[in-house]
Symmetry: C2
Amino acid sequence: MTKKVTITDLAKRANVSVTTVSQILNGKDDRFSSKTVKKVRQLQKEMGYAPDFNAQSLIRRSGRTIGVLVPNINNPFFSRFLRGIESEAMAHDYIPLIFGSNNNQKLESHYLFESIRRAADGMIIASAISDLSYIDNILTQNGIPYLLIDQAPVVKGDKVDVNNRLGGALLANYLIKKGHQRVVVVADENPTLNMEERLNGFLETYRKAGIPVNDDQIVKTTLTKDGGYQATNQALLQKPTAIFAINDEIAIGLYRGIHEAGLTIPDDISIVGYDDIDLAEYITPKLTTVHQPAFEMGTTAAQLIIKRIENQSEPIQRVSLPVKLVERQSVERKID
Amino acid sequence: MTKKVTITDLAKRANVSVTTVSQILNGKDDRFSSKTVKKVRQLQKEMGYAPDFNAQSLIRRSGRTIGVLVPNINNPFFSRFLRGIESEAMAHDYIPLIFGSNNNQKLESHYLFESIRRAADGMIIASAISDLSYIDNILTQNGIPYLLIDQAPVVKGDKVDVNNRLGGALLANYLIKKGHQRVVVVADENPTLNMEERLNGFLETYRKAGIPVNDDQIVKTTLTKDGGYQATNQALLQKPTAIFAINDEIAIGLYRGIHEAGLTIPDDISIVGYDDIDLAEYITPKLTTVHQPAFEMGTTAAQLIIKRIENQSEPIQRVSLPVKLVERQSVERKID
């Protein structure tokens, strides 16, 4: 139970009427002396008067809020993505309401309802939602537009697209060129669409090159450093010359596991990752990976959802962002 | 402009009165047949009906919201801290409104006002606020309690305390015991109180052991991986046998700089960090550091602020959390 500073408090201190304060704070300065304007603005800052947002929202039925659901704020890819959203939202006077679902279905739906209750005008969903049609149903009935990142939309909707299939293919071509005939992929156990596409792009390229990658060569784990670490032994059992980690977090976990096994990267085994988080340049050897424009994905997602919020009849928006291979020092040429 | 599902929509679909729906959703089930109760609850889920939060907040003057200001959500220490807050807040039906200030004063004050506008009931401030008395003034006038993390309170207030001075001393004792007579500290250019205490605890311990650490041996930089990387050359110029990085992010940056300089950790130079972020175990060699209970700091901060929100006359609360040295492989014994 807080007692906020009211417009009446401010008017009293400034020794002017409530109407005067209201008009000045709404930018109608020219009706008053510059002395009065200055005094009111000064006092607003000093007293910390903030117009009552809930009253405004009730009238506008808008919280100038974007609900954002990500799987894991501990993953540096998502922290950068969130910073992109934050920066764009702020430029348009929106606030992101950030939720980390930890891939927990109960949390997801709790946060979804919280976003609706708190008058979110739109949502950006980057979490691996277990039941998309349920979410679509709830949000559509509440008239709340949403944008999915890295997932197949239920219906035709706005989309921020990164060519994951191409990213997977780039890595496969690179490893093939470097002579790696026997590879292992460490992938996630509950793949979102983007992960499936990375994997498919990779496998397809190997298949077309006439080099089979069997199911035994695909190890499933969680998308974390610990997931990568735990998967090391199973991956090494297949005697690969190179491992494709489906994201950089897994690659970092594999680095640890491989070091502990007494092996050296890339002399004994080569590694490639995916995302190009900042850490990729800080580990030894520096990680060869596919660069995803995480920050730009965030700003673009925020741009699209704000456009959609402000104009529901806007034509469907699709933005495709580029990926590229970043060659560093974690792959060695293999001469059989 | 969203059109939310209303209680009237729900009542119509359920073919009961609005009062019936309201009573059932407020837990007064026993007045109705189990069939009706089941139908109403089922429809609430299906239609995604969420009671209008803004109307509720206007009456209660509470948003069941905790504003949280951190310097940098990219730092894994703060992601864990935030997860602690999130988990505790959720257990008490509060929502954290998370803002990353990037140590930018304009952003700080923007987010502060946003929190007030959005009916935050309390705030947790872990950001290095440039003008604390201004913030204290604004929040106090609005009747919003706040909790500072790692900073000196303006007035006597609630506090979550970690013994930073002890943490610094533990590291100094450890390095002295290992024979390191010539050390460099890589510290931050705009230190918060916790950082100053780490540094002071460290310096004091060296001084008491009769080993001077001059100003030249303290290199200032930003609290990021890149900050540590950029500081490497200046640190190496002092020819230290060991470097104390004031946080683990800086230590990871130093690892990179030292590798690029062709040196080996710990054979050529020893490194210690501070925080014990999960990465400390993933880099090679594993980093010796001081463990801070980031998650518990988050849950404790949330507990204290919620108690304070719900009872402003509660006596001042102080919780002190332990730190401990975690010995890994980044320090070598020095025999001169």
